[in-house]
């Protein structure tokens, strides 16, 4: 193993260039370690995001050698091709500076997809009794571990081609809520996720499913939404 990594990092915003750095290579090293080293020991002007460093928050997501990943959970050994690394910000999002992207549009779409829980009970009502074995609950559970890291959104070709497309994360969340029997949004949410900006724009590339670090399959959730929306339309409820 070479003692040094050749690392190219995007510097700038929408306009910019890749700059090369030499970073000492270690036995057990993550890509986040590499970026941190550059900022602390070589160039303090490098901007990047991180928080927990242990794969729980999703803040450190970046494009590493072309693929969106959590840099804190990506070992250099796994991705360094011939001792080289290329690190860039997440795709499909405006770049604030260097490796930092503007996540507002990602979360705005989450809201547009009715990605928030709407209960119908009050604190005076008894707890909802939801069977963990019910089909709806199991379908919801398959998608609820999402931490909003943006990796799926950055990996989606339809998001790249269609600026209005709500994206896999927002739609996946809408699906989990649609399967939540306590939720009252119902038909309103189905209307929000249907259409060319919604679930119908998904062409099952499965890039989101490939890349999701939580191993969620937004494609499956989106397929579920397609079926639910179609059923509602054919029944005249939409």
């Amino acid at each position: 193993m070479n003692a040094t990594l050749e690392v190219r990092v995007w510097r700038g915003a929408a306009e910019g260039r890749f700059e090369a750095y030499q970073v000492p290579r270690h036995e057990s090293q993550t890509v986040l370690d590499v970026v941190t080293h550059i900022q602390r020991a070589i160039d303090p002007t490098l901007a990047y995001r991180f928080a927990c460093r242990v794969g729980m928050c999703g803040s450190c997501a970046m494009t590493v050698n072309g693929a969106a990943r959590w840099t804190c959970r990506t070992h250099v050994d796994k991705v360094a091709e011939g001792g080289e690394l290329e690190i860039a910000p997440l795709r499909n999002l405006p770049v604030v500076r260097d490796l930092v992207t503007d996540m507002r549009e990602f979360f705005d779409k989450w809201a547009r997809a009715q990605g928030r829980f709407r209960g119908r009970a009050t604190r005076k009502d008894p707890f909802a009794q939801v069977s963990p074995q019910s089909e709806a609950r199991q379908l919801a559970n398959a998608g609820i571990e999402c931490i909003g890291c943006g990796v799926c959104y950055a990996s989606c070709d339809v998001v790249a081609a269609n600026p209005d497309y709500l994206g896999p994360a927002a739609l996946n969340r809408a699906w989990t809520l649609a399967q939540d029997e306590r939720d009252a949004a119902g038909i309103e949410r189905l209307r929000a996720v249907a259409g060319e900006a919604g679930c119908h724009a998904c062409h099952t590339h499965l890039s989101c499913t490939e890349r999701c670090p939580k191993r969620i399959s937004p494609t499956a959730g989106i397929a579920g939404l397609k079926r639910a929306v179609a059923k509602a339309a054919l029944q005249g409820r939409l």
Binding site: V158, A161, N162, R191, A194, G195, E196, G198, H200, A201, H203, K226, V229, A230, A232, A233, L234, L238
Partner: protein, 112 residues
């Protein structure tokens, strides 16, 4: 386009796809049979003309294509050319009309 019409387009695409799956399989099998048999024009037309069964089958085939092809092109035009809105839908309706006219002309020619 409204969410309702988008949803119905999605349903129509899958429904026509299912119909086409059957039609294409039958069509391919028939073509392979005809080509293998080295059938001449006279032989082909003698079997097809006046056949209500074949006429019906190919009419259904053409109609399924008229639904399926334009809807398929719609997504492609939207994503690869950024073409959306009313003009796209009108253009696709025109294409559908062209396919229907040419298709039924061919069907009548071979089966009537």
């Amino acid at each position: 386009m409204s969410f309702r019409s988008e949803t119905l387009l999605w349903v129509a695409q899958r429904a026509s796809a299912a119909v086409l799956g059957v039609c294409v399989a039958v069509h391919l099998a028939t073509m392979i049979y005809a080509v293998r048999g080295g059938l001449s024009a006279a032989e082909i037309l003698s079997r097809t003309q006046g056949s209500v069964a074949w006429l019906s089958f190919y009419t259904v085939f053409v109609l399924a294509v008229v639904v399926h092809a334009p809807i398929g092109l719609r997504a492609l035009l939207g994503e690869w050319l950024g073409w959306r809105g009313r003009s796209r839908d009108l253009a696709l309706l025109a294409f559908a009309a062209l396919l229907a006219w040419a298709g039924m002309r061919a069907v009548f020619g071979v089966f009537l």
